[in-house]
Assembly symmetry: C2
Homo-oligomer: 216 residues x 2
């Protein structure tokens, strides 16, 4: 049994990627996977892969690799995605719609069970097959479905108020798609997905690469 407390965050991020690769190979009926194969697919050295996987208390067999199913399940357990994660989505705009349609947000382990929006005109309508609820229903929905995750897909201006409401409704994790930092108590975890930062990082990298190219 892996000790979650010992896994560093950068390793946890790579474990997600290893699990995905293992899942694809499982689907294709491939019973073994080596650190070299994982490394090649993901652009990492096999030493890095082996070091990360050692946190799971598992070591591959030289020349054979890891049993795919076992590797997949150990990572799932370490990441906690062998549990059920129900989520409420706040914001029935275009980002919310895209998330509802995104395959990752409707899996066995993660499910958006309810959509809420501050616009009273939307209450009672459906989006991608889910009913839209008024904000006042949040606590009730979180409790009823045992939601541990709230997803913020509202404009910047509304994000903090939504975060406050999610904390009051006792979700323990927030996935924030609004382009701002939200403040929450230390007992609540926040992961932000920020398209603006991603775009600006890309501009920075492209300029860096062309400067390096010009100077070499």
């Amino acid at each position: 049994m892996p000790d979650r407390l010992r896994i560093p965050r950068p390793t946890a991020k790579r474990l997600s990627l290893y699990m995905r690769e293992a899942g694809l190979r499982l689907r294709d009926g491939i019973g073994q996977i080596s650190s070299r194969q994982l490394g090649e697919t993901l652009g990492l050295t096999d030493a890095q892969v082996r070091k990360d996987l050692a946190y799971l208390g598992q070591s591959g067999q030289p020349g054979v690799g890891y049993p795919t199913r076992d590797l997949h399940d150990r990572i799932r357990h370490a990441m906690g995605t062998d549990q059920k994660w129900n989520a409420v989505l706040v914001g029935a705009g275009r980002i919310g719609r895209a998330l509802l349609a995104y395959p990752s947000f409707d899996r066995e382990d993660f499910r958006i069970v309810a959509v809420l929006d501050a616009d009273p005109a939307l209450a009672g309508q459906t989006m991608e097959g889910r009913r839209i609820w008024p904000m006042a229903e949040m606590s009730h929905l979180v409790r009823e479905h045992g939601c541990r995750i709230g997803i913020i897909a509202v404009p910047r201006e509304a994000a903090q108020a939504v975060a406050d409401q999610l904390v009051r409704a006792r979700v323990t994790g927030i996935l924030n798609f609004a382009p701002r930092r939200v403040e929450v108590p230390a007992s609540t975890c926040v992961i932000s997905v920020d398209f603006t930062v991603a775009l600006e990082q890309l501009a920075f990298e492209v300029n860096l690469a062309s400067a390096n190219g010009a100077s070499s």
Copy 2:
């Protein structure tokens, strides 16, 4: 003039956030901003903020801070977003639609100038006010609009082929929303935005927090 080659990547990421805060304060007519204010808004120490901003060759005045406009413009220049960045978006599905509607993807400095899709039935239709083009038009559109960025918003299975096409069309940066790594030559930069990894990281963090809570 800042030397872009010297700015570390983690600093570059924070510079994006500082620029956003400076932009908001500019909009509100606030002429000065301190490292303490920036740090408080972003959850960073003011020492970290000062260290990052020192890469711009600028130091704040004790007790006064940085002139907001100057700070904003220096970061913009360092990140390269004082240039124009035209992009082609590949994939006219829900993610593509959400990106077109996202405020960050229609700014003075970043513009999605064309949308392409492999489905011939979509060619000639419009999405969020942009015409959808067949894939065969990619090189032509990239050249005509001087696009340096390609955005991949297609399903996993199609992502590598689209990346190859974007490289052939001579974009130098790729923003990848497909849930897989794409392989490109070293001269092309890729930034991936991966919702699945974000969701799994959140599960990991929530479990970690509750384990820490239980053990303390």
